[in-house]
Amino acid sequence: MPRPAPLTVAPDARRTAASPRRRTRRESATAWAFVSPSVVVIVGLSVVPVLWSLMLSFQSSDLLTPSRWVGLDNYHQLSDDPRFAQAVRNTLLYTALYVPLSIVLGLVLALALNRRLRFTGLYRTLFFVPFVMSATSQGVLFSFIFDPEFGAANSLLHRIGIGSQGFFADPSQALLSLVAVSVWSGTGFCVVIYLAALQGVPKELTEAARLDGAGHRQVLGHVTLPHLAPVSVFLVLWQTINALQVFDLVYVTTKGGPLGATTVIVYFIWEQAFKNFTAGYGAAAAYVLAVALLLAAVGLRLARRGGGVRPARGAGA
């Protein structure tokens, strides 16, 4: 987007002294002064590290002593590592549960809230508050609620005659408990995104459909939902990317356990790099994750383009 800089040709008597070329050069210097702090931080701590990580992934490094070039060894080792395979399985299961649950629940709640009932503001606040809490706070809170001995969850279950559950301490329940906490905190985001998109559904369309005899369900199916399709695609992409990167909550609640039942990919990377001091191996795992994220993003972009469901008017985007 080459933008002509109109200010440089402003015909102003007081400023004609400087030749246009000198003005441009001075402008360029000012511009560089403006952007250079951002450029230093972003190039130094984003662009360089991306390449550095790639180098590291071909090396054996403990972050202290000089590293040694090992070629593709890290990647070979990764493909044979049962713990990595388990981390991939756990991450995919977590994602496959969390993404649809949070989006569908978010859609239902947004459709309900969009009817402008009494207490709509209160409901929206309640659904959204968990989202602004840190994953640490959520994790600490639910470690308590799900505590097998002193937790409120078992206390409630006890009162209605159900035996104590292990939750985070039970290998078969730990990942599901994580999904539950994430749905609790992540649904609010889907609600506000859907609510914003619902504001963009043209009133004339729904009214025209009503006048043509469409019932609630038909208006929903033929007008509202198609209009929400681009936002839904965005939410699937966004929630998937976040789910594949889950870490903080796992670190606080289960530390990857019990018996590796909640070791997710990022937890595996962190453990390799900063606990076992096999940074090259961790970097290789990070690259595998990054490529998976990229594929997810590209795939969904294509789906969005190919789907052909476009809002009548530019939706919120």
Partner: protein, 303 residues
């Protein structure tokens, strides 16, 4: 006003609506005893309760005594208010310090993102300089780079700068994000050029135009940058976990999870600490709910 007119329109639509539907449906409608409230509340209220209960428990348990929590089955409602948990936390040598550390790091990040984001965003939006398109492309590309890919080298950079185990290691990487630059650039592009040109002709220099014309018009975008930067730095755990190993330099999030590990039978104190950790974000959110929701929605819809 829109509410009223929408309601009126809905009323107007109703007769025709009922007429066109099959008779049985209308009959069923008429036969059902009318609720004094919309049936949607039957779905919303229980779900809202389910969302609220953990938060209520957070507050209640922070006000219970440990004895009450540690019996079986644990009490669900405090018999009286016990501030022992809060006294334990505030009397702890480290907790106030972690709170201050978090404030310093988040405050520095917010200020610096506003300043550097404005300067960078304005240059990209309004000034012509060599390499600007390449740099902008680079910035956009780094927005999609996941943190895990950069964390190991960033740790090494911070180690070489001698910043590991200092708050500097937390502040430097969050001085400015490509997102802040990009968001402000997009906002500046949408501002009318005429105002800036007029100020320019009146003899303002770039800085004058920026501070007198552009910034006062950019409050919503600046608020968005501030809110999102504060949320992400205050709530972050992964980077402090990597960059800080000495307790006095912990942030609140890192401190809270460590605290939980050390005092895991003193749930009342842990929950009191958790309330203190959540409180700044919660207060800010409730005070500026519209801004928060607009900011988070706009961060979402940019994709």
């Amino acid at each position: 006003m829109t509410l009223l007119s929408a309601a009126r329109r809905r009323e107007a639509g109703r007769p025709g609506h009922a007429h066109k539907l099959s008779g049985s449906v209308t009959a069923r409608r008429r036969g059902r005893p009318r609720l004094p409230f919309s049936p949607w509340h039957l779905v919303l209220a229980p779900l809202a309760l389910l969302f609220a209960v953990p938060l209520v428990w957070l507050v209640l348990s922070s006000l219970m005594s440990n004895a009450e929590i540690n019996r079986f089955p644990p009490a669900l409602w405090p018999s009286g208010i016990d501030t022992g948990g809060y006294r334990f936390v505030t009397g702890n040598a480290m907790f106030p310090r972690w709170f201050a550390n978090s404030l310093i790091v988040s405050g520095a990040a917010v200020v610096s993102n506003l300043v550097l984001g404005t300067l960078g965003g304005y240059a990209f939006a309004r000034m012509r300089f060599g390499g600007s398109r390449l740099l902008m492309g680079l910035m956009l590309a780094t927005m999609v780079v996941p943190f895990q890919l950069t964390m190991i080298p960033t740790f090494l950079v911070m180690k070489n700068l001698g910043l590991i185990d200092t708050l500097g290691a937390l502040i430097v990487p969050s001085l400015v994000t490509p997102f802040s630059v990009f968001l402000l650039r997009q906002f500046f592009l949408g501002l009318p050029r005429e105002l800036e040109e007029a100020a320019w002709m009146d003899g303002c220099n770039r800085m004058g135009v920026l501070s007198r014309i552009v910034l006062p018009l950019s409050r919503p975008a600046l608020a968005t940058v501030a809110v999102l930067t504060f949320l992400s730095t205050w709530n972050d755990l992964s980077w402090p976990l990597i960059a800080i190993h000495h307790e006095p330099q912990y942030t609140l999030q890192l401190g809270l999870t460590t605290f939980q590990g050390q005092h895991n039978v003193q749930w009342s104190a842990v929950m009191a600490g958790n309330v203190i950790t959540v409180l700044p974000v919660l207060v800010a959110f409730l005070a500026a709910q519209k801004t928060f929701i607009r900011s988070i929605t706009s961060s979402g819809l940019k994709g």
